[in-house]
């Protein structure tokens, strides 16, 4: 598996003995695709001026934030940088250092407000804050707002005239009106942003006094480099550069003439001069494109497998099996389900059921993983037993409790728990015996009073997944069916993806089938910390955590400080996997195997593993597998009339 970090732009790196910093040594002589040299300045620029810049919204910052502090990247010399954190944190290497694409300082520095202090840009920033909260400000102090607008206008004129004294004359009343408004506002976003506006106004004055009048607005950067940008404006370090993007039709790439990687014979990579990524909406049409030779690769859906494998010989396609990928697919049950229907006594009782680990274990036994794999993945799915991704070196199936399909065992466990079908309607009831054992009530009278009559307390809950994901839909349908066999009613209803995650992260759901993408590192604080934003199975743990969750959290935190894989496994993650699979906060399902069909004219594709290699498909095209055509194939393609302006 490709789980080790491979030297790339950084030829080597050294973790300091205390684990508080990493020093990276960059390869010499690398150039951006426009020919400019790549140096430590670009690295520092990317981290300190873009990713860690508060003006710029991005989701890379999270991977580089350790204990609420953004990583500090500093230049050691032209070809070495040092990244320091406030506590040792192993995922830094992958999530932050490997996970961030570097940006060319010489192209982009001019769009970053922080590096281009100027009166004009700061004035725009003040204006945009005021526009954002105009309503609130109007309500708070209409008079001050009028004065503020006048001052902003005056400031604009002063900047236009490039007169620092006039700028000062405008900034003073501007600050006064801002102060008045800040006093009139209640604490909150508006007030915080007005405080920021004050600092923008200060910056405007300072810049004007330093004779810098133009400047860049703080929201400029997020809108540079979009689909409209002329290709020559981009510069990158990858194997290809952009030639053109035709909206909704194709992305045309050509080789980066300055790409630094060479093959074993010293030939500069990539082999292709051009790469056309054709955009095809419909998957059936994608398959037709492949079959007719208009595309060279097709990621087959499971329902196409029979056809692809059957025709491969005759059509001279190479088929590549890949997977399981990083990530997991699971069923989660809401252990705070009482909150979904606060007045409903059955849901109050159901919460005790959801919280019983034996119940979740029984459900795990009742799911027929083999049938799921046969029906959905034509027998090629693999069961997963823990949170950590299967290809990760931190995954260890041996440490996990496994739940092979066993209906009688599942039924026995539910009977033992006291979940029996008292009214003979095929659905198990939450009996007094169960509730008393869970210390929810004292005797039958008390139970009936608290949770309603026993016959009406059925183990029944809604089950959702996102519409359009045919695989999860099929899984949910099978789960509904498997649960019915053991007397549990899960009413399946697909939902729109946004609605599903809103319900999930708001704790408003019964059961959800969903999957997350994963990575090599097992660290997931957002999920495993009891007050984590994605602690979705039991948000109430924030105030009242079960013992095992605290232990799991501890293992996550302590484990993340250890850099050696074996040591981390032995000390922390084996126990973590054991806890995870015993208490089953989520019930793990099966994981997909992918099948790619590739035109055999593309050589060298044996190692093409975009899924378990943890790389997006088109990056894998350029980065890990180098493909070329043989002469025979060229002849065949000329015959087909396809060696014109297309990829050579």
């Amino acid at each position: 598996m490709n789980a080790e970090l491979i030297p790339g732009l950084a030829k080597s790196w050294v973790v300091s003995p205390d684990g508080f910093s990493v020093t990276l040594h960059l390869r010499h002589g690398i150039k951006w695709s426009d020919g400019e040299p790549f140096t430590a300045d670009d690295v520092v620029f990317t981290y300190m001026d873009v990713v860690g810049n508060d003006d710029i919204a991005n989701n890379l910052r999270d991977g580089c934030t350790v204990g609420d502090k953004f990583v500090q990247v500093e230049k050691v010399d032209d070809y070495a940088v040092k990244a320091s954190v406030t506590e040792p944190y192993r995922p830094l290497l992958r999530d932050c250092i490997q996970g961030v694409s570097l940006l060319p300082k010489h192209k982009l520095a001019k769009y970053v407000a922080k590096l281009n202090p100027g009166a004009g840009g700061n004035r725009d920033a003040v204006q945009s804050v005021v526009n954002n909260y105009r309503d609130d400000l109007q309500k708070a102090d209409a008079q001050a707002l009028v004065a503020l607008d006048a001052a902003i206008k005056q400031l604009a004129q002063a900047i236009e005239a490039k007169n620092a004294d006039q700028v000062k004359a405008a900034v003073d009343p501007l600050q006064q009106s801002l102060d008045q408004l800040i006093q009139a506002l209640a604490p909150g976003d508006a007030r915080d942003d007005l405080e920021k506006a004050k600092s923008y106004a200060d910056r405007a004055l300072q810049s004007a006094q330093a004779n810098q009048f133009a400047g860049v607005s703080p929201d400029t950067f997020n809108n540079t480099w979009n689909t409209n940008t002329p290709p020559e404006e981009f510069a990158g370090l990858g194997p290809y550069t952009l030639v053109s993007y035709q909206t909704g039709q194709q992305v045309l790439l050509k080789r980066n003439p300055y790409y630094w990687r060479v093959d074993a014979d010293g030939v500069q990579l990539p082999y292709f001069d051009e790469l056309a990524v054709v955009i095809v909406q419909n998957i059936d049409t994608q398959f037709l494109y492949f079959k007719s030779g208009q595309a060279d690769m097709y990621p087959a859906r499971p329902e196409d497998w029979a056809e692809v494998l059957g025709a491969a010989q005759e059509e001279s396609w190479r088929t590549i099996k890949d997977g399981p990928p990083y990530g997991n697919t699971f069923l989660v049950l809401n252990q705070d389900i009482a909150k979904v229907k606060p007045g409903d006594p059955t849901y109050q009782a159901l919460q005790y059921v959801m919280r019983a680990k034996e119940f979740r274990q029984a459900l795990a036994y009742s799911i027929n993983k083999q049938a799921m794999s046969d029906n959905i993945y034509r027998g090629l799915g693999t069961p997963q037993w823990a949170w950590i991704s299967i290809p990760s070196p931190f995954y260890d199936a041996e440490s996990a409790n496994q739940y092979p399909y066993d209906v009688s065992k599942a039924k026995q466990m539910l009977d033992d728990l006291g979940l029996t079908d008292t009214n003979a309607n095929g659905v198990r009831n939450i009996t007094d015996k169960f509730l008393i054992a869970q210390k929810a009530c004292n005797d039958s009278v008390d139970c009936a009073q608290k949770f309603g009559p026993q016959d009406q307390r059925e183990v029944s809950f809604p089950l959702a997944t996102n519409t359009g994901n045919t695989i999860r839909e099929a899984m949910s349908q099978q789960i509904e069916h498997d649960f019915k066999d053991i007397g549990i009613q899960a009413s399946y209803l697909p939902q729109d993806f946004n609605a599903l995650v809103t319900g999930l992260t708001g704790g408003q759901y019964g059961g959800v089938v969903i999957g997350f993408t994963g990575g090599v590192d097992p660290t997931g604080f957002n999920v495993w910390k009891v007050d984590g934003f994605y602690h979705f199975w039991r948000y109430s743990s924030k105030d009242n955590p079960p013992e095992w969750e605290l232990r799991a959290q501890q293992l996550q935190v302590d484990g993340s400080k250890v850099f050696d894989v074996q040591e981390a496994m032995d000390k922390y993650y084996k126990e973590f996997i054991q806890l995870d699979s015993e208490y089953l906060p989520v019930i793990y399902l099966i994981n997909q195997i992918f099948l790619y069909a590739v035109d055999q004219c593309l050589e060298n594709s044996q190692n093409f593993r975009p899924q378990s290699g943890n790389l997006p498909q088109w990056v894998a095209f350029g980065e890990r597998t180098w493909w070329q055509r043989t002469d025979d194939c060229k002849a065949k393609l000329e015959q087909k009339g396809r060696l014109g302006a297309g990829p050579k």
């Binding site: 991005n58 989701n59 039709q249 037709l288 946004n498 999930l504």
Partner: protein, 331 residues
């Protein structure tokens, strides 16, 4: 007549305003219940709520919907600016101009195909009522009507792939994709390539609407044949050709013209599924992709555009009606 047209054109403005307001309210409701553009980030446990909030702010989604609507409206009125696409990070106006040519390249030939075929067939069916030709043409038309477009599109694609037809879907072959789709960037080869890609789309999308139109034409013409002035014309001994084309068809064409007003928007919105299967990068696909997660300024602007299509189509139909039929007068 001129004052009537001016009045109708002026009426378009408040109508469009209402359309945009209602669309925006519906989008806002959807966002309220199902989450907005940044909610999709919540499906990734590596993204913290703070990051999501920051995105929300940078897109202006932390503002209440009426503020966003007012800002959008202000942009249109003061700067002719239709807002910004969250997904593509480009002005919506620019994006629509990128997708619009593909819509026009498909709808105009399709409309021509449908009308130039449906009217003669309708006339033939009416004049040869219950003949073998009438029955066969009607049958063909109904097959087109009853086959779902995605299905006929797929069947056609499979057939063409089997025949090694070089232009199975999309609008251009790969070597002609580059360059602007607007007519000032074409060569003869590109045009031929376009025609090779066009006919399957026209057949699939147009084939679905021929039957309806043809039946309307047939029905009204048969009605007219029963009227007294046609009998009179025949009694006078006029040639059958003159009776049909000079008297009957001229009167029977009125409902067809009214239908024409609603036909363009139907073609635009009705070609979504076929366009997806046939891989046409047109406005409908763009609109469809912008619905989920809601790219609100794109959705509301495209809806506005479709409404404009409908209103202008109807206006043109009314003007044509007055032109064709001297009895129709507007004051």
């Amino acid at each position: 007549m001129l004052s009537y047209i001016i009045r109708r054109v002026l009426l378009i403005i408040p109508t469009l305003f209402l359309v945009s307001l209602i669309s925006f309210v519906i989008i806002a409701l959807q966002e309220h219940y199902n989450g907005d553009f940044v909610t999709q980030l919540k499906g990734n446990p590596r993204v913290t709520p703070e990051t999501i909030e920051r995105y929300q702010k940078s897109l202006g989604l932390d503002q209440p919907w009426y503020m966003r609507y007012a800002k959008w409206l202000e942009g249109i009125i003061t700067r002719w600016d239709f807002g910004y696409s969250f997904e593509k990070r480009q002005p919506v106006g620019d994006l629509i101009m990128q997708y619009l040519p593909f819509t026009l390249l498909i709808t105009i030939p399709t409309a021509l195909f449908v009308w130039l075929l449906a009217i003669p067939i309708g006339i033939y069916s009416a004049t040869h009522q219950y003949s073998l030709g009438d029955h066969s043409l009607t049958l063909l038309g109904f097959i087109g009507l009853s086959l779902p477009t995605f299905f006929s599109a797929l069947v056609l694609l499979f057939l063409l792939t089997d025949l090694n037809y070089p232009a199975i879907s999309g609008i251009f072959s790969q070597q002609y994709i580059a360059g602007s789709p607007w007519p000032w960037n074409w060569s003869w080869g590109k045009f031929v390539d376009f025609l090779a890609h066009l006919w399957p789309a026209v057949l699939v999308i147009g084939g679905a609407s021929i039957a309806g139109l043809m039946r309307v034409m047939r029905g009204t013409l048969l009605d007219v044949f029963g009227s007294q002035y046609v009998q009179t014309a025949r009694a006078k001994g006029l040639a059958e050709r003159i009776v049909i084309y000079k008297h009957a068809v001229r009167n029977a064409i009125n409902p067809m013209i009214s239908i024409f007003g609603q036909f363009l928007p139907v073609l635009v919105s009705g070609s979504l599924i076929a366009a997806q299967v046939l891989n046409m990068p047109n406005l409908e696909i763009f609109y469809f992709q912008s619905l989920q997660p809601p790219d609100e300024y794109v959705v509301v602007t495209v809806l506005l555009f479709f409404a404009l299509f409908l209103l202008v189509g109807n206006l043109i139909a009314d003007i044509l009606l007055a032109w064709v039929d001297p009895r129709v007068r507007y004051d």
